[in-house]
């Protein structure tokens, strides 16, 4: 087939069909230098398996950890990561940018 590599949405549909419970994180805003553009997505299942990315790997761990809550509660979360963030030393962006992420359940 001519298709480009599988999209995050195709993964999401396949995982959903397997009965896995899912959350999806989307980069909704960026300031300064950010490795992934607005609209980039990270798909996470209840076991912490993931596909895609929302940064250069800097904040994925934190987003995946929070995805478990989002899947359990069904409530979306807005997350901001950046160098000025208190948690920057743990999950800051090495590139010096700031990103805002919307993390929501997929159902």
């Amino acid at each position: 087939m001519a298709a480009a590599d599988k999209t995050i949405h195709e993964h999401a549909l396949a995982w959903h069909a397997e009965g896995r419970r899912l959350a999806i994180a989307t980069v909704i805003e960026t300031w300064g230098s950010a490795p992934q553009p607005v609209g980039s997505q990270l798909l996470i299942d209840e076991k912490g398996n993931f596909e895609g990315s929302v940064s250069g790997g800097c904040v994925e761990g934190e987003v995946i950890a929070r995805a478990a809550d989002v899947i359990a509660t069904g409530k979306p979360q807005l997350l901001t990561f950046g160098v000025e963030n208190e948690a920057a030393w743990q999950v800051g962006l090495a590139c010096g940018g700031t990103i805002r992420i919307y993390l929501e359940p997929l159902r």
């Binding site: 480009a4 590599d5 959903h16 805002r100 919307y102």
Partner: protein
């Protein structure tokens, strides 16, 4: 986000219809609408004029964004039709370029009437059309989300491909060949009635000036030139013929 929205986005994508998913960040509510919905007055949920303006701009610039409305922040997630690369010539450079383009999110179509070249074994994972480019390209919608890369070096194949590309509106047209080859090609195309302004739309010699040697490096310089053109950057191209 709802699975039904994902299914709808996939269906629109397949039909190359631009679509946007709106998410109201406070409530988590979402709505999906196509660019055509926006133009018609048949919207299920009426949107404020400011939101309609923002949507139009988001589609045009292919940029997803957060806007503030009366109902709080709204994230506009634009899904324009997938990028596509039509490669004419299942040659060595095409073998390197096709997987690169796929990784960058392009659908890849390779056209080559020479069946010895256009084989599944040589070009795995792409749509192969073993027909003459003018016929094959008439069937593919060469739209502003499409790049056309012409690589055979053979005027019998390259020239009709370029004429077909110039009649359409791809965002990028590039043709392999030295400056001398391209100057001769321009002569032939002029004789077919192609205007100077159309000839100027062809990136030739193809690729950015990165000192590329060999098929793989040339493929990188072509991919980079396609990206720069899509993003509206003026990166250093190889010198055009006088």
């Amino acid at each position: 986000m709802e699975i039904t929205h994902l299914e709808a986005i996939a269906a629109h994508r397949k039909k190359r219809r631009p679509v946007a998913l709106l998410t109201w960040l406070e409530s988590g509510r979402s709505a999906l609408l196509t660019k055509t919905d926006l133009a018609s007055s048949s919207l299920a949920a009426p949107l404020s004029p400011a939101l309609v303006d923002a949507l139009e701009s988001a589609f045009r610039r292919d940029r997803s964004m957060v806007v503030t409305s009366e109902a709080g922040e709204v994230f506009i997630h634009v899904f324009n039709p997938p990028l596509r690369m039509v490669i004419v010539g299942a040659v060595h450079i095409a073998q390197a370029l096709a997987p690169m383009a796929r990784r960058a999110g392009y659908e890849v179509i390779v056209i080559d009437p020479r069946e010895a070249f256009a084989t599944e074994a040589r070009m795995p994972g792409v749509e192969l059309l073993t027909r003459w480019p003018d016929e094959a390209m008439a069937e593919i919608a060469i739209d502003p989300r499409t790049a056309v890369v012409v690589l055979t070096h053979d005027p019998k194949i390259d020239d009709p491909a370029l004429v077909a590309a110039l009649e359409a509106a791809p965002f990028y047209i590039g043709a392999l060949g030295s400056r001398r080859t391209h100057a001769k090609r321009c002569e032939r195309l002029r004789a077919q009635g192609i205007s100077e302004s159309d000839l100027a739309r062809i990136h030739a010699p193809i690729g950015l000036d990165i000192g590329a040697e060999g098929a793989v490096e040339i493929a990188h310089s072509v991919m980079a030139e396609v990206i720069a053109t899509l993003r509206g950057r003026h990166a250093p191209a190889l010198p055009q013929p006088e």
